[in-house]
């Protein structure tokens, strides 16, 4: 039994979860400097309290439709992978849930590979399904190239 806190968040209507211990902070991605010639998933680089943070758009990373024009200002969760600071740009943050990872289901076989490889597991909540993401593969250069 290992029960952990998960930050739940929404991207394109879907509910996702990320291990709360991995999330450093939640912020509005403002003052983005675009990086020319970079992959489309890269939203840009920004200055977060003196650190240079690379913002990655979760919608584009997961192959979802772009954000609607009238959508509220996006949020980003701060994650650290291989010692680099990243901001995963998402639509909104919900609550923090305690989940037992032994009750996670492995991702169903019919998911596109772009999704399957970044998912730790799927959790059946009462009302909907919660997809738990692995920030490591989500933001890893090698996996991104393959996607």
């Amino acid at each position: 039994m290992s029960i952990r806190d998960y930050v739940t968040l929404r991207v394109g209507g879907q509910l996702f979860g990320v291990d709360a211990a991995r999330v450093h902070d939640v912020f509005h991605p403002r003052g983005l400097t675009p990086v020319p010639l970079s992959r489309p998933e890269i939203a840009g680089v920004l200055n977060l309290r003196g650190r240079i943070v690379t913002a990655v758009c979760a919608r584009r990373r997961l192959g979802l439709a772009p954000r609607e024009a009238d959508a509220p200002e996006p949020l980003a969760i701060g994650l650290e992978v291989h010692g680099d600071s990243y901001g995963l740009v998402i639509d909104s943050v919900d609550e923090v849930l305690k989940l037992d990872d032994e009750k996670f289901h492995s991702p169903p076989g019919n998911l596109p590979p772009r999704w399957a490889e970044v998912i730790v597991g799927v959790c059946q909540l009462e009302k909907e399904l919660l997809i738990v993401l692995d920030p490591h593969t989500l933001l890893d250069a090698a996996h991104l190239k393959a996607a």
């Binding site: 020319p36 010639l37 680089v45 200055n47 650190r51 240079i52 992978v81 933001l139 250069a141």
Partner: protein, 805 residues
């Protein structure tokens, strides 16, 4: 003593780190030893190091390693007791066994296990020699080890020694140290050392207490004692005083990098604060802020110091290299090293290690004559390769000199014509030094025969490119029959660089200033126009066509429209020269380079990012990658043109203006660069926000100073009727004034600039009219002036208003 808290893996990693360091020391110690076999101290040091290796591997159960180390140690023990004569064969054999140890370590490093293999050949030879029997060295199979063993790479990457300023004499505080020292320093060697054992059973014979204890002592203590013994080995070899007196601790590089990042951020925040405070009237903050600013600067310096390593670290392999070369080439070579303690950033150190090795190899192979030839010439039989290093300004200067035959100027001239690098007529007009500089041209190699050691097709051009890529310069001086000296000047650190902030495609970018040779303003009203051949853009610049790369479109950003004011930055990367078209030049700024996240590493045109004073993030362009991306048009060679300027500069008499500014040596500048000399009343100069300007011919002209600050100008304004001399430089559509203290004279002289490391803004020193002068780097001031000018256009309104008020 308990083993808890230590995984065996950790012990092995630590062992590898320590051993790699010990082995490097052994290498150079052995060479010293061979040269001077009576030097007891050197032998003691080598013995102690090999012994430590042996002891520790016994403890870790590394049997193969231990057996080799043991046999080596036994032989060394015989030398130490004076029972055997040291000769070249013996040293070669010991070096072979050290190579073998390195090979096993490399295997251990990669797989975590000792590689399979048989060492009986080597061990039996070592034993035979220890027993005084004849040994045919040739049958010992030399094991080829990588030039830089993996283990030592890791060791250097993983740990940096931080020297504390407190010094103390080595105190045998730990039981282990004490016993170790006692064992080694005992006047009579114990039995197990002096008598080679006919039945090798090394595990049992190892002196237990010391090696077993060593790894278990608390980390710092272990590390401390290891550092101390390594240092004592070095100190003992150098001055013969034996035991070390410097105290140091090991700190992981990660911690240092973390500190560096924090301090860099602090510096940027400080700059922001200073900017805010400058624009405010209330000065309650001014004093504490000034104090904070000074402290931040000092803190930054101190943290930078922790990243510094003595250049000797890059030289450690050289004594062994030169020794091997000496044997292989049959030349007698002395390697002299001076200034090993000169420190520079470890990142820079890594980058110059290979070029330096290459150059020393070159000097020994090509530079020095064979011994017999030297004797015939009446030179000392031993050739000398001398390395020296010292600090000058923000740079380190490294000299590699030999007392060999010097460059064959006639042969180089022929080769230049042969390779069509210049015409016969051009060559005839050049002096020797200009001809010599051609050895830095790509593909140039005069080696008549390709030896095993050098002349592998990688020539001095690669060395030059490597050095220029880190913002350094290289020059040489050669006298036929007397030798050649190479001078390298490199910045102490790469962490902070001065950069031009440019605009293109609606975005800001930083370009390292070292790559920018000059700035040219183009556009509808400017003298220079960008022209098109097919789809390629070129710029006519002093009767040459400069290929252009448009920054915006190359980055797939919108292109500059014709009406936009446009600048061409003339960029030199190695031998390539090209123009980078940008829309705007905004400012010059000292920037702290931060690496990009790994997810962005595939975007090769950026070498990093930085946070500007206003808090925004800008990407730093890599001029080298830009040129590669821009493709085939860059085959143009710039060497020709730069040589041409050398002819002008060195051959003819040049009119020079001598002046004094900012104290120190008198300064000089070629008169042709100066448009006008002006004397104005100091009170006319406007000074605001740390910048100065003057209403000049109906326009606001930026005023710069040699010192970079304006204290003296401010003070001069206080004096009634003080007259300020100005040198006015003009370029495409802008003018700038350089405030100087006093104009001394105008003289005509041949200009021969000695490359020397110094501040930006100074090209070097030269003797002008019998006085040593610093020659002003006009390009540097023009870049600053141009950036200032561009800035003012942006803030034009604000400036006018301030003046009205």
């Amino acid at each position: 003593m308990r083993l808890t808290g230590y995984a065996v893996d950790d012990l092995i990693a630590e062992f590898l780190t320590e051993t790699a360091e010990s082995l490097e020391v052994v290498d150079s110690e052995l060479v010293k030893f061979e040269a001077n076999p009576n030097e007891r101290k050197t032998l003691d040091n080598i013995f102690r190091l090999v012994h430590t290796v042996k002891g520790t591997c016994g403890f870790l159960g590394l049997g193969r390693l231990e057996a080799v180390a043991h046999a080596g140690e036994t032989l060394l023990g015989r030398f130490r007791d004076g029972k055997l004569e040291v000769n070249a064969d013996a040293v070669t054999l010991v070096l072979h066994s050290i190579d073998r140890i390195k090979m096993i370590l490399a295997g251990l490093e990669t797989t975590g296990l000792e590689p399979d293999g048989d060492d009986h050949d080597l061990i039996s030879q070592l034993e035979a020699m220890a027993e005084g029997r004849e040994v045919a060295i040739d049958t010992v199979q030399a094991v080829s080890v990588p030039d830089r063993p993996i283990a030592s790479d890791v060791a250097e990457a993983a740990l940096v020694e931080v020297k504390a300023e407190v010094a103390r004499t080595l105190r045998p505080g730990e039981v282990s140290e004490e016993e170790l020292e006692a064992a080694f320093l005992a006047a009579e060697a114990p039995d197990w050392m002096s008598e080679p054992d006919p039945t090798p059973a090394p595990v049992i014979e190892a002196p237990k207490p010391a090696p077993v204890a060593a790894p278990i002592v608390e980390t710092v203590a272990t590390d401390l004692s290891t550092s101390l013994s390594a240092l004592s080995a070095i100190a003992g070899g150098e001055d013969g005083t034996g035991i070390a007196t410097t105290q140091s601790i090991r700190v992981s590089v990660d911690v240092l990098e973390g500190l560096m990042t924090l301090v860099s951020e602090m510096v940027l925040t400080r700059n922001q604060l200073l900017q805010i405070s400058r624009n405010r009237e209330d000065s309650a903050f001014a004093t504490p802020l000034q104090r904070l600013s000074t402290l931040t600067g000092e803190l930054q310096d101190s943290v930078m110091k922790t990243r510094m390593q003595p250049i000797g670290a890059a030289w450690k392999k050289l004594p062994r290299l030169v020794r091997d070369l000496s044997h292989e080439l049959g030349k007698k070579i002395d390697l002299v090293m001076e200034g090993e303690g000169t420190e520079l950033d470890r990142q820079v150190l890594e980058l110059i290690r290979d070029p330096l090795t290459h150059m020393v190899r070159n000097s020994a192979d090509h530079g020095l004559e064979p011994t017999q030839e030297r004797i015939d010439l009446g030179k000392p039989a031993n050739g000398t390769v001398k390395l020296s290093a010292f600090h000058e300004g923000g740079y380190i200067v490294i000299r590699i000199s030999d007392n060999g035959r010097g460059l064959n100027t006639a042969r180089i001239r022929e080769k230049i014509v042969e390779k069509a690098l210049a015409t016969r007529a051009e060559i005839d007009g050049m002096n020797d030094q200009q001809v010599h500089r051609f050895i830095f041209a790509p593909g140039f190699s005069t080696a008549a025969k390709v030896t095993n050691l050098s002349g592998r097709g990688v020539g001095m051009d690669v060395v030059r490119t490597n050095i220029e890529q880190i913002g350094g310069q290289i020059d040489l001086n050669s006298v036929q029959g007397q030798g050649t000296t190479f001078t390298i000047k490199i910045p102490l650190t790469l962490a902070i660089v001065s950069a031009l902030i440019v605009g293109a495609g609606g975005q800001k970018f930083a370009v390292p200033q070292t790559a920018v040779m000059e700035l040219v303003r183009t556009g509808a009203n400017a003298e220079h126009k960008i022209e098109k051949i097919e789809q390629s853009l070129v710029l006519r610049l002093r009767n040459k066509l400069l290929p252009l790369v448009q920054l915006g479109p190359t980055l797939q950003l919108e292109a500059a429209t014709q009406e936009d004011p446009t600048f061409v930055m003339v960029i030199q990367v190695g031998e390539r020269r090209y123009g980078l078209v940008v829309n705007d030049v905004l400012d010059t700024e000292e920037i702290v380079v931060k690496p990009l996240a790994s997810i962005l590493r595939d975007v090769d045109v950026f070498s990093g990012a930085t946070i500007l004073g206003d808090g925004s993030v800008v990407l730093i362009l890599d001029p080298n990658a830009m040129s590669e991306r821009a493709g085939n048009m860059l085959e143009e060679k710039a060497a020709e043109e730069s040589e041409e300027t050398h002819v002008d500069a060195q051959g003819q008499r040049v009119a020079m203006l001598l002046f004094k500014a900012g104290g120190g040596t008198p300064k000089a500048v070629e008169l042709e660069h100066i448009t006008r000399l002006e004397h104005i009343e100091s009170s006319q100069i406007e000074i605001m926000e740390g910048r100065a300007a003057l209403q000049y011919r109906g326009k606001l002209m930026p005023i710069l100073t040699v010192s970079g600050h304006y204290h003296d100008l401010l003070a001069a304004r206080e004096q009634e009727g003080h007259i300020q001399p100005l040198l006015v430089f003009t370029g495409e559509g802008y003018a700038m004034g350089l405030a100087v203290d006093e104009i001394v004279d105008v003289v005509e002289d041949r200009l021969s600039i000695e490359l020397s490391a110094d501040r930006p803004g100074v090209r070097g020193t030269a003797v002008v009219a019998g006085r040593a002068c610093e020659i002003l780097d006009v390009d540097h001031y023009q870049l600053r002036g141009l950036a200032e000018h561009a800035r003012r256009q942006h803030h034009g309104h604000a400036v006018v208003e301030t003046e009205a008020a």
